[in-house]
Symmetry: C2
Subunit: 271 residues, 2 copies
Amino acid sequence: MMVERIADPDDPRVEPYRFVRERDLVGRDGRFVAEGQVVIEVALARGRFPLESLLIADDRLAAQQALIARAEEKGVPVYAAAPVVMDAIAGFPIHRGLVAIGRRTAEPEARTLLAGLDGPAIVVGLVGIANHDNMGGIFRNAAAFGAAAVLIDGGSCDPLYRKAIRVSVGGALVVPFTRVGAAADLPALAAAAGFETLALTPAGDDVLARLDPPARSLVLLGAEGPGLPADLIATARGVRIPMADFDSLNVATTSGIVLHHLASRRDAGRG
Amino acid sequence: MMVERIADPDDPRVEPYRFVRERDLVGRDGRFVAEGQVVIEVALARGRFPLESLLIADDRLAAQQALIARAEEKGVPVYAAAPVVMDAIAGFPIHRGLVAIGRRTAEPEARTLLAGLDGPAIVVGLVGIANHDNMGGIFRNAAAFGAAAVLIDGGSCDPLYRKAIRVSVGGALVVPFTRVGAAADLPALAAAAGFETLALTPAGDDVLARLDPPARSLVLLGAEGPGLPADLIATARGVRIPMADFDSLNVATTSGIVLHHLASRRDAGRG
């Protein structure tokens, strides 16, 4: 194993790991942080973004030989440090003992991304999803049900924020996504690439469970509470999930329910 | 308004609000804590458990007159305190400015609970759900899709833990639940009341989206990772949610997907 030892928290090789939480707040200069074994395995095996390095606690080295070998195959440097040094680098206790730094790559134009998708495809459009747990949950579901891409409006948070990546179990590193300037542009962008836009809203005319979805669907999800803007709903096909007399569903759960329905119809068509 | 002023954090009327977090850890002597406007509205309007009192920050009184009137109708005392006193009582900052204490009532026998359910009904069985976020999310979905009851095994956490109630948006106060001694007893208990047991598992023979569910279903959900015990799966009908090559779904999301499917079939039968 070609693991490089880090003894000094100020070692310049681990500079990108310094003060992880503070950097969450100010942004990261084109880098992201991936934590934990499962997420890093996903990043190495299927991630769309290159990893720059891995930092592993000494006491995890023996258990992580397969992962380290995989990193080496891909030319990703692996650093090891005593847990106390690791915590000093990050500025807080790294209980998982395993962190990686990755590098963002340029996002494609939404138009280009959609045009590159052939045949039946499910794309998710996110409007005002400002909560990192929800963003992560949506990407986890998008990966689980094979969504082809996620389009994200300016009012939504960053899928490559540390917590969003963690909650997505790596889905945010796998499912292609890009930003769109304004949510209002989404239906026209979708239509130009042969997608029909479905807007999830309690006032929708179509009931999800009875919906025979278009082969190419853009599914719009808005934040709990405000939901999708009325003008956006007006330009799309409204779809609702009937509920008992109760507060609306969590938006990540909603994404799971919708993607399950669309994916099961898509895959039945393939079968 | 008959709001009682609390000026002293040691006032015995607010004793149950003292040291909220510490009590989370040691248990609460038959009481639970409900936080925030929406949860307390649900508790007052539809909760299965009596509220003992409400504690409101002075600066929220004007905005919460409807809720206070509702509490008074139900004979629930309302206390008001300056935010700084409220924080001193609870031992941490109560940002929502609105907390209630409720009292648990005795849980029915699972056998009695099931026998009391007439006609088509969906019951959820939880095995080893130890995470309060997941427990809360499951109860939120159970309420949203009108599940008739939730049966909880000894390895699962408490739905009336403060965070579980909050994440459930009050669903944990609405949907009837009870403990069962051993998860292994669930299928026989269900069968005795005319329920068929469905076990969600990646190895299930039935695909959820094509499942024509029994009118009376007990749906078993296990923790992410370990899943349901094999001996339990062996005594039930296995149901799977096909996924792309990716880590399994979050269990709360899974509950939403399953309950949506079962509820849409149940309600189509009613229509």
